[in-house]
Symmetry: C2
Subunit: 212 residues, 2 copies
């Protein structure tokens, strides 16, 4: 499945790296813990990081009812961006050095998730962060939910850009004898750091075993 590029999502800079595949978009979002949101208010442009998750064809965020960003996002268009850096690409010339990455940009307007759908959205968020956690903690109270705004944006107007693999050198540089290839960067889940002496339950043990 593909989305149709719009004026805002048609990739012009290195368009061969562009992807409008829904599967690519979903994979990039599902691997992210945070997105960056570009929006404007009376003081100009802002770019704010916030936790995000996906359900179906929407990206979700949440925050305090008092959040200036959330209030503003309900009123106007924004751009949500997620970027994963996978490595540095070493080429034979300085200017052909590059980075491998997977990025997604979503344009549109957030809508407020109605009160009766907040709980299931936030429980989906927790389940994505750490499967099995939900059942082990005190669930949100009515008061906590009442103080929280959950918002979502459609993934309809979106584009991804992906670079992978080794360097693309110019033909005239191919005789230069230097090391070329990729210096990979990876995000890893390190060993849990307990705050108490409790035994490590199964859902925590799974942290490092999860495939990304």
């Amino acid at each position: 499945m593909k989305t149709h590029p719009t004026t805002r999502t048609r990739v012009r800079r290195i368009p061969t790296n562009a992807s409008y595949e829904t599967a690519t978009l979903h994979a990039i979002i599902d691997e992210a813990y945070v997105c960056h949101i570009g929006f404007t208010d009376d003081s100009g442009p802002h770019c704010i990081p916030t936790a995000c998750w996906r359900e179906g064809g929407h990206l979700y965020i949440h925050g305090s009812n008092g959040s200036r960003m959330l209030k503003r996002l309900a009123e106007d268009e924004c751009c949500v961006t997620i970027t994963h850096i996978d490595g540095l690409v070493m080429a034979r010339s300085a200017f052909n050095h590059s980075m491998n990455y997977r990025s997604a940009m979503i344009y549109g307007r957030f809508e407020v998730v109605p009160d009766d759908a907040k709980r299931s959205a936030m429980e989906a968020f927790m389940e994505q962060l750490l499967p099995g956690r939900q059942a082990q903690v005190r669930a949100g109270s009515d008061k906590e939910y009442a103080a929280t705004t959950v918002m979502r944006i459609s993934l309809e107007e979106a584009a991804c850009k992906v670079r992978a693999g080794g360097p693309q050198d110019d033909a005239e540089d191919m005789a230069i004898a230097t090391w070329v290839g990729v210096l990979p960067l990876q995000r890893v889940r390190a060993a849990p750091i307990p705050a108490t002496e409790a035994e490590t339950p199964a859902h925590i043990q799974q942290w490092q075993a999860r495939a990304d």
Copy 2:
């Protein structure tokens, strides 16, 4: 050394996590390979990832002369944001779950680096990406430099937000028996992937040895 918070950089949401220390700001930037830039043009707000580096009190970016973003950044204010996610914080209640992170936001306007300063700026970038690499590759040609725009933004109007450590639970939840602590996320430098059969030189061998 500290920067003085402005209307745009005074942290209102969880202000106890705010930092205006220059050392904190520099460390967050120096660990980043990319930043996200929030800016607007005729089609509204954008949030675009791009490679960045620091020299002294400025953050630098570069791109093709044809880049619509770079053209626009010379004309108007923007917001540059860098975010490192360090872990998920597991608390006794769902709503006290959190993330550990270090983020920096810089407000201002980019200026174009003059032609005679481009080469030293780009060489500083390469040296930051991988010390020793510069000497092993073909340097940029006059034509390559002529096609490239380098820009910088002052770090004067900036703020950081940092969360570290274990959960902050409510007093009435402290008796809940569940695992609490931090699930760390780390960025690691994985083993170099050569594109040819050349031997691995010292500057590439150092990739995984570098402290971050």
